[in-house]
Amino acid sequence: MILLSGVGKTFRGRDGGEVQALTGIDLRVAPGEFVAIVGASGCGKSTLLRLVAGLVPVSLGRIEVDGSLVADPRADTAMVFQAPTLLPWADVLRNVTFPLRLMGKATRETEDRARALLAKAGLAGFETKLPRELSGGMQQRVAICRALLQQPRVLLMDEPFGALDALTREEMSLELLRIWGETGAAVLFVTHSISEAVLLADRVVVMSPRPGRIADIVPVELPRPRDFAQEAHPAFHAAAQRIRATIYQRGAAHAA
């Protein structure tokens, strides 16, 4: 379980002044829950993810994972970045096993599990290819396999499909849901896309900028397994409308 209470983050700007990136973030994510975070650019979504990852220290408040304070990156937390961030010198298999090897947790069956996971992601036969020999969508699939191989309790995804074309993006969303369903990891999924957030998540956290804070938390009352047919469901529209209203209302109020 992820628990954020009263989390705030200030960065020191280049001119020496302080920039408040996040303030008063309270959020509780249950084990196995899929929570999407949407909001305009600059609302601190990515910063929030980095705080939970332990890559950046909080300025205020506390973040706990399974009851222990997050101070450093944790072995049971895995992150997927916007770019695939694969090692260009390592083949697909060694990329997927890289975190476990780095943490000294690779065992004899690590490679077998990696092969199985790659096969599940439609990458069977690509194990010995270098990243540059793969398409953007395949590279991101490798990055997701790399995160899942760590069998994380917490999976942090920072616009993982942001760099992909619309078709690949939809295909990958469903694949992600299918694979995630078997892991039981709690997911924090940052995205720009409202429909992607609604399609994927149990709850959608809507953030507003300057300083970044939670404007609304929208539950998505759609049955699982999800698919694109549900985009026609009234609950889908209701959730998407509520999110949209929150984002644009805030934006309008700010502009006024």
Binding site: T77, A78, L87, R132
Partner: protein
């Protein structure tokens, strides 16, 4: 593509030969390639000895550059404080003309191989350090963040991310260092040696044996090209992803 290099060289020699014959240039000014060849062949065991002597200095100096530059580059890249302390010293070593330093080193260390190797090293190592540091520092921040997310410390980030990422840059530096090693060895031989192609050039010119001096120059050029090619070959065999990464740099 692959043939255009040799064709250019052969064309150059043909123009050279033709030009010298057509204009009747005296041999002590500019000997024709054929004259260079016959002169060098007449005493080829001597030429071979000088070549091997220079090659030894070049290889030792180049090896010293590699052995010292890579750890030095890692040290510089590991912290801004160390970098700020070491870089000025390196620039000083580069600002001193090696020709000026060579006689001092020879008096201090004796007229043996050591000062020649040191001069070769001093000429060759700097570009290698600079290229390696650039490569180590150019590791994409997102890869560093990935390593940090996997609980990697600074040492692991250096060895598992920065070092492999620097390989294309290191090889760029190695190619420059290989060519400069030849320059360094000849500079050292000019000042203090009783063998080597640099020595051969000096003694030949003292006796107006211009073709022999030119032969030494041609051999030096071939030595530089061969070293350059070998470094490139090693890169292609051991780090096939590196050559393509380099090819991508201008495209990006």
């Amino acid at each position: 593509m692959r043939l255009s290099g040799p064709i250019a060289i052969v064309t150059l020699f043909l123009l050279w030969e033709g030009g010298v014959r057509a204009f009747g240039i005296p041999e002590f000014l500019l000997p024709a390639p054929s004259a260079i060849w016959t002169d060098a062949m007449r005493i080829w065991p001597t030429v071979l000895n000088h070549t091997l002597s220079t090659l030894q200095t070049v290889l030792l100096g180049f090896a010293a550059s590699v052995i010292i530059s890579l750890p030095l580059a890692m040290l510089i890249a590991s912290s801004p404080a160390i970098s700020a302390a070491i870089y000025p010293l390196l620039v000083i070593t580069q600002s001193i003309p090696k020709v000026a330093l060579a006689p001092i080193l020879i008096i201090a260390l004796g007229a043996n191989e050591l000062p020649r190797v040191i001069v070769t090293f001093l000429v060759a190592f700097f570009p290698l350090v600079v290229a390696s540091v650039a490569g180590l520092l150019a590791a994409p921040p997102e890869l560093i963040e990935l390593a940090r997310a996997c609980r990697a410390g600074r040492m692991q980030q250096m060895l598992r991310i920065r070092l492999p990422h620097a390989v294309p840059f290191v090889f760029g530096g190695l190619k420059v260092a290989a060519a400069l090693s030849v320059v360094g060895a000849v500079v050292a031989e000019f000042v203090g040696a009783d063998a080597g192609l640099g020595y051969l050039i000096q003694t030949s010119m003292a006796f107006f044996r211009t073709p022999l001096a030119f032969a030494a120059v041609v051999i030096l050029a071939m030595m530089g090209m061969a070293l350059f090619a070998i470094v490139g070959l090693i890169e292609r065999i051991l780090f096939p992803w590196s050559t393509s990464a380099q090819a991508n740099i201008p495209a990006a």
